[in-house]
Symmetry: C2
Subunit: 392 residues, 2 copies
Amino acid sequence: MEPDLSAVDERLAEFEADGYLLDADGTDPNQQYLSGFDAPDPFVTLYAGETHLLFVRSLEFGRAKREARADTVERFVDFDYDRLREEHDRREAAARVRATFLREHDVEHVAVPPRFPTGTADALREQNIEVTVDHDDAIETARATKTAAEIDHIRTAQRANEAAMAAAEGLIRGAAVDDEGRLLAEGEVLTSELVREEIEVTLLRNGCALDETIVACGADAADPHDRGSGPLVADEPIIVDIFPQDKDSKYHADMTRTFLVGEPDETVEEWFELTDQARKAAIDAVEPGVTGAEVHDIVCDVYEDAGLPTLRSDGSAETGFIHSTGHGVGLAVHEQPSVSQRGGELEPGHIITIEPGLYDPAVGGVRIEDLLVVTDDGAENLTEYPVALTGE
Amino acid sequence: MEPDLSAVDERLAEFEADGYLLDADGTDPNQQYLSGFDAPDPFVTLYAGETHLLFVRSLEFGRAKREARADTVERFVDFDYDRLREEHDRREAAARVRATFLREHDVEHVAVPPRFPTGTADALREQNIEVTVDHDDAIETARATKTAAEIDHIRTAQRANEAAMAAAEGLIRGAAVDDEGRLLAEGEVLTSELVREEIEVTLLRNGCALDETIVACGADAADPHDRGSGPLVADEPIIVDIFPQDKDSKYHADMTRTFLVGEPDETVEEWFELTDQARKAAIDAVEPGVTGAEVHDIVCDVYEDAGLPTLRSDGSAETGFIHSTGHGVGLAVHEQPSVSQRGGELEPGHIITIEPGLYDPAVGGVRIEDLLVVTDDGAENLTEYPVALTGE
């Protein structure tokens, strides 16, 4: 996969910088994107038209030469590190190596993302390399538009996600209910933790790693960031939100469903129908040129028309629709573009979630989330999973 | 658990700084240690005798007040962010909030770890807050000495590790061998990937997440960082290195064993015996006041006395003992103290690995790794797992 780095080229021209510099390990999405390489220790990647990697130690050298998306791969020893180390402390020797590496690629001024390490930036500045922070993160901007290969990676992760959701739904829907209203699976009280374990094992069996998984019931579900804990109960909505990362490709998927065992009360039923209506209306609106803000407004309209609070109608609302409509998904589970009050224009190749939801500690929470790719004339829903509150 | 921050106090005095500042999400070990809080988005932690947390959004506020190890928890809105945002761009408004937060805690000069984000450091400097990079990372130094509670967390992770190792060993030892010498489990070719999956599922069932796991055979095993792939074969050593993280406590464990199905050749047998001898000799030497360098020397002595190369005898050796003897283990799987050529004095409460090993692409690799806690008068081996090359 050859990434389209024109957004990075434009930023370099704007800053009059000669190169874009990263210093991060292989878990950093920008580093994964620019270098195409995964290593447990931080390494340096320079983009200056061509891409150059620099490693402290030789350990990853051979593998990087084979696997990385790089024009050159170099090591500290290639820049006389051992001799420098005799004369200077480790920090000074490393700074000199990095400055020489940059100058050998004709770079005197680098742009760096906001979270570039201060230790490295200060050391480069001492070597008279100019370092400018790119607060708008041009590499993240480049990452927002996916190639066909990237879309396939996300599709693969989404299939694993659906297998895990089916495992969770099977456990929940198959549960009995005890005298206290708690769900039982094979005679044992079914907890958030047990369902989460089943989800995570299924993801592993399907080649995915896991960040966190949300299985939240009752009051837990009323806090959109609560992972959930303890027994799951009947007659209350259970939010299951799964966002796996494919172990090979490093790309994510993201999906939420809300399940209920027993009888939903009227409010929950209405919330679920409204949320599904908001989801469909938002999905119908997604096409190139429409802004994330416009899609978010459609969701707010549905809820506000039903008399429910949103952050648009009341910036300090603590119940109702209290988050944004969606976010980009890729090497990071949350990335550009934003489908929110400040969301900009959607473009073909953007991959976004649409995830309306309603929350109130007195009721619980309801959320439904699909994953979409913006196409040339609309959107394709990458989610192949039914939407149903109860099993009937 | 109250961490001992005297190393941080000393660094602040040395730098004449008023506070130590972090800006990182909950996956950062320093952030976990100082704040005792886990959140998916970056937040600011200030240590200035007392500990103060600052969140951009309100989402984590309630949970942080309940769970964090903090004297105060504050949010951007508590520092007039919305008004500032009307007059300034996001970056400038955030910088003013952070500077006001620091000044309200009487802080004008902060020390930060080397990987503190440049975007935040530059913005604070523009607000006339002095920012000094602490290249020796005093929080990592503080983390090296574990409390009884931390040792218990690591012990718990090590029990999960042993369950996973037993699952892997069961699969490997129980394998049949086909005509081509490949291991077979239930009629299927047993691969590194299959054993790894079994390990990771077992860890999940025992409350642990996983970073990476090494299951490497033959030439793969000769590269200490190769995770291994493809069929496992008979008569060759298989290195299994597992380093799980407990999902609740966030503490790690670390253990390596080497297994062989069939008949080891003479070299592998000799290597295994030497490596076990080196392991025992190193463990016997561990006690307070002994340096990591001295322990490393003991391992090098064993290997060099047998005529094998080490990085001590030949700095460019590519076969033999080509890594250090061990490292600290805690919130990070690799942390201080180092048991290597430059390793300093060991102290009670240090948790270290002892992991001698030998490598040669023509032979394969052998490594045995135990996890130890330094006690007042020696060391306790936290590893409860037999050491045996073959199953007999």
